[in-house]
């Protein structure tokens, strides 16, 4: 266990833990978009900026850094609110809002942090390239059906080569994870579509109650991973 301060308050934590995680747990409000506990901190959105003062070689140095991937270290002084942080944060929100103006979450952040009029021409992109869908699909679900393509503003998160996904099992994890809700899911009685990836898959219908409960491909993926057979998934959880 090590000790350091956040906004003057002394906190204890495991060395190396995420500053953002610790701060939020301690009740300090640091906004974030691309951070999620189940995946590795990516540090892309730049919203979770804090100022960290460290002493090295006898000199005190303060730097502006993302808190999601900054490791907790003994004796550091973390500040979560300042003019410098506010100035940067507001511009980041303004830039993201200009990119994806319809995203509700961005509108909320703008209202909360005092971002007024957006001074840039609006684009019609929806995705903010936070990488959560990519990471969750690859590292948690393990299907690796999504990835980035391209560089710079042309960067995008999509299935390989931007074609309708062949690997996707329509589990819906990306839908849940997306912070700006741009991955939509639609269901009919027997089919589920992950709209953004143009992936429609049949749902397994429960042999007892007759309701569909999960995409067949997703069940196949579970079966493969666990060594169980597809036959084990004839009945939905409620009926089991």
């Amino acid at each position: 266990m090590i000790e350091f301060t956040i906004d003057g308050k002394t906190v204890q934590a495991e060395r190396g833990e995420s500053l953002l995680k610790i701060a939020n747990a301690q009740g300090f409000r640091i906004p974030h978009l691309c951070y999620h506990e189940v995946v590795q901190a990516y540090g892309a959105c730049r919203l979770c900026l804090v100022e960290v003062t460290q002493t090295s070689h006898g000199r005190k140095r303060t730097k502006l850094t993302t808190s999601c991937n900054f490791p907790a270290l003994e004796g550091i002084e973390v500040v979560t609110q300042s003019e410098r942080i506010g100035r940067n944060r507001r511009m980041i929100i303004e830039l993201l809002l200009a990119r994806a103006p319809k995203a509700k979450r961005l509108q909320e952040l703008a209202a909360e942090y005092g971002v007024g009029k957006v001074r840039f021409a609006e684009s019609d992109a929806e995705c903010i390239l936070c990488g959560l869908c990519v990471q969750i699909c690859r590292d948690v679900v393990g299907v690796d059906a999504l990835g980035f393509t391209g560089r710079g503003v042309n960067k995008d998160a999509r299935p390989p080569f931007g074609e309708p996904s062949k690997e996707c099992i329509a589990c819906g994890a990306c839908v849940e994870a997306c912070p700006v809700d741009c991955i939509k899911m639609e269901e009919t009685h027997t089919m589920r579509t992950i709209v953004r990836w143009k992936r429609t898959l049949p749902m397994r219908v429960c042999e007892e109650c007759g309701y569909s409960f999960a995409p067949t491909f997703q069940l196949m993926h579970f079966a493969k991973k666990t060594g169980m057979s597809l036959d084990d998934f004839r009945v939905c959880r409620d009926c089991r």
Binding site: A44, R46, M91, F148, N154, K155
Partner: protein, 631 residues
């Protein structure tokens, strides 16, 4: 060659190679660097060899295809040894004369001799050429005598002697000590003290360490590393082997950008030959130290010059940088302690070992005896390009002034135009106007003025360069090269580009200048890696020193350099004599007129695209460019 298995054997080999070379044998040294390739230097070499064979003189005369000595403006460069007769602007068709007249009869060919612009004097001998004389070419000098594909040449010049000295006389700690005391600082632009980096890497916990040579030289306009790697690849290898020994690494990588195929080929060949000779690989020179090198070619991404992106690329991933809260010297390639240095930095290592710390510290500025950041020691190679007379590579001691480089060595601004500024540090650097010409060039002085020395790119600008367009150019470059991961860099640079584009195209309102400033500050402050963090400098420095140009564009639709198409208009003036050349050359049929009747010529604005062909074709100053117009 059989693998050399001892120091004695190395010296014996060297001695016998030297003995085998006839000191009286004439050598025709031809530059075959990438630059001279455009002048068909390879054909020239072929022709020379054919002519020499025809004359039956293969035993007496050798044609050596070398790397670049730096005077690119006058390529193809040929020097005849031992007399050191210097020929410039040589073309393949000159081969017959060079052999027939100069080599056989000792006759000089006037049209190939260098004539000094200022004095009008003809200079015959290479070491009297002012461009070279005013430099201190400790790194570039040997290029003239080296065939980059020959290990023998390198050995004859004393190559691998520093390695021998290190393995024979110095412990790893002692090597690090020497490099630290020499004050060598990173030549890739960062200026971090090399010795300190080596020590930190050596002391990092773990058993496996890596050394990397960063040859991803991406700054547009800079080609120092290309030259060194093409011309003298063994010097970099020697430096890396010494570094690996000092740090305790057994595997190294040379990461060469994709756009340098010759450099990659030459260093690959050098590695193969060094390995075959026992100078690389297992049990180097029989001393029990093993180290090998793999060549990695980049895929075309400027961001891969950033150390974490470079390492990701070696691991088989895209070059996306990651946060460096723990430095790569401690956790780098495959999470192991990794020492990454630039090409020129590695090339300096054998030099320092051979010539000594005192020699190195006697060149340059400041005092590094107490603080490794206290001075800038040694020489620095600059690529002097743009609107300057003598474009090429310039190697000078640090601390020399910009004026000396640009005017003394560079010959001043091309075409007698007015100097407007000099851009250093590539996309991470800034532009400095005339009042800074007497600033010394080193790691610290230019930074104080809002620019930086960077890796050595030095671009001279004149009155015809629009500074807003110049800032837009860098923003366009950076937004294309940005990996796109972090919001501030990706979105910020795109918006900054759009603003400068609006300004150049005459669409900008006055509120855009403060917005540009605001964006620049955020991109600088909030970005993840050095690409984003330094991306704002070209804009910030041009806003600081050339704000009047921005304002002229915005408030008066004027481009002072008469460059921005949206704000200029071409017209025929009273000098026109009806020669008809502009009409013939105009690709858009925008000019009408009656031949020989000067006052009938007219440029039609509805068809004119401001391509400048008429202006450049006219030999009578008959085309005027006006600005302050709105298209």
């Amino acid at each position: 060659m059989q693998p050399i298995r001892s120091m004695k054997e190395l010296e014996k080999t060297r001695e016998s190679l030297r003995q085998g070379r006839d000191p009286d044998r004439k050598i025709v040294s031809v530059c075959t660097g990438t630059g001279c390739k455009a002048y068909k230097c390879d054909d020239l070499v072929e022709n020379l060899r054919a002519e020499i064979t025809k004359a039956g003189l293969d035993a007496e005369i050798e044609t050596k295809a070398t790397g670049c000595p730096g005077f690119c403006e006058r390529g193809t460069l040929v020097t005849i040894y031992p007399e050191k007769i210097f020929y410039q602007r040589v073309r393949p068709e000159h081969a017959a004369d060079i052999v027939g007249r100069t080599l056989l009869k000792g006759e000089l060919i006037d049209e190939l001799l260098y004539v000094d612009d200022e004095t009008g004097k003809t200079i015959v001998h290479e070491d009297e050429i002012p461009f070279y004389k005013k430099q201190q070419q400790v790194l570039l000098g040997p290029n003239r005598s080296l065939d980059p594909t020959s290990l023998d040449d390198y050995l004859v010049l004393g190559g691998y002697g520093a390695l021998r000295k290190v393995l024979e006389e110095l412990k790893p700690d002692e090597v690090i000590d020497q490099i630290t005391r020499s004050g060598l600082r990173g030549r890739g632009g960062g200026g971090f003290p090399t010795g300190v980096k080596w020590r930190t890497c050596r002391e990092a916990p773990g058993d496996i360490r890596y050394v990397i040579c960063n040859a991803d030289e991406g700054d547009p306009g800079a080609f120092m590393d290309r030259c060194l790697l093409e011309a003298n690849p063994h010097s970099i290898l020697e430096g890396m082997i010494i570094g690996a020994y000092a740090i305790g690494a057994s595997q190294g990588f040379v990461y060469v950008r994709n756009e340098y195929p010759i450099a990659a080929a030459n260093v690959r060949l050098a590695v193969d030959k060094a390995r075959a000779s026992g100078l690389l690989g297992k049990d180097i020179l029989g001393q029990g130290f093993s180290f090998d090198v793999e060549i990695i070619r980049g895929g075309g991404a400027f961001v891969c010059g950033e150390s974490t992106a470079l390492m990701a690329s070696i691991e088989g991933y895209v070059g996306e940088p990651r946060a460096k809260h723990i430095h790569t010297v401690e956790q780098g390639l495959y999470d192991k302690p990794t020492n990454l240095n630039n090409v020129e930095t590695w090339a300096n290592v054998p030099l320092i070992i051979n010539k000594g710390v005192d020699w190195f510290t006697s060149i340059g500025t400041g005092d590094v005896s107490e603080n490794p950041w206290g001075g800038s020691k040694g020489t620095k190679i600059f690529s002097l390009v743009g609107k300057v007379k003598n474009t090429g590579l310039v190697e000078v001691p640090m601390g020399i002034t910009l004026r000396k480089i640009i005017y003394d060595i560079g010959g001043g601004v091309l075409g007698g135009k007015k100097f407007k500024g000099v851009q250093t540090g590539g996309p991470s650097g800034g532009c400095l106007p005339e009042e800074f010409l007497d600033r010394p060039v080193d790691f610290d002085e230019l930074t104080k003025a809002g620019s930086m020395m960077g890796s050595g790119g030095m671009i001279v600008l004149d009155e015809d360069t629009c500074m807003v367009d110049f800032a837009r150019y860098f923003l366009n470059f950076l937004r294309e090269e940005s990996c796109g991961k972090c919001t501030s860099c990706r979105e910020g640079l795109e918006r900054m580009y759009q603003i400068t584009d609006d300004i150049c195209e005459g669409r900008a309102g006055p509120q855009l200048l403060p917005l540009l400033d605001e964006l620049a500050e955020v991109v600088k402050d909030a970005s993840l890696c050095a690409l984003g963090q330094t991306a704002a400098y070209p804009v910030l420095s041009t806003l600081r020193y050339y704000r009047d140009e921005y304002e002229a564009h915005i408030f008066r639709h004027e481009c002072p350099a008469k460059s921005c198409k949206a704000m200029i208009r071409f017209s025929v003036n009273e000098n026109c004599n009806g020669c008809n050349l502009c009409l013939r050359n105009c690709p858009y049929e925008a000019i009408t007129g009656e031949k020989k009747k000067g006052d009938t010529y007219e440029i039609h604005q509805d068809k004119c695209t401001q391509c400048r062909i008429c202006f450049e074709s006219c030999k009578f100053d008959g085309v005027s460019i006006d600005t302050g117009v709105m298209r």
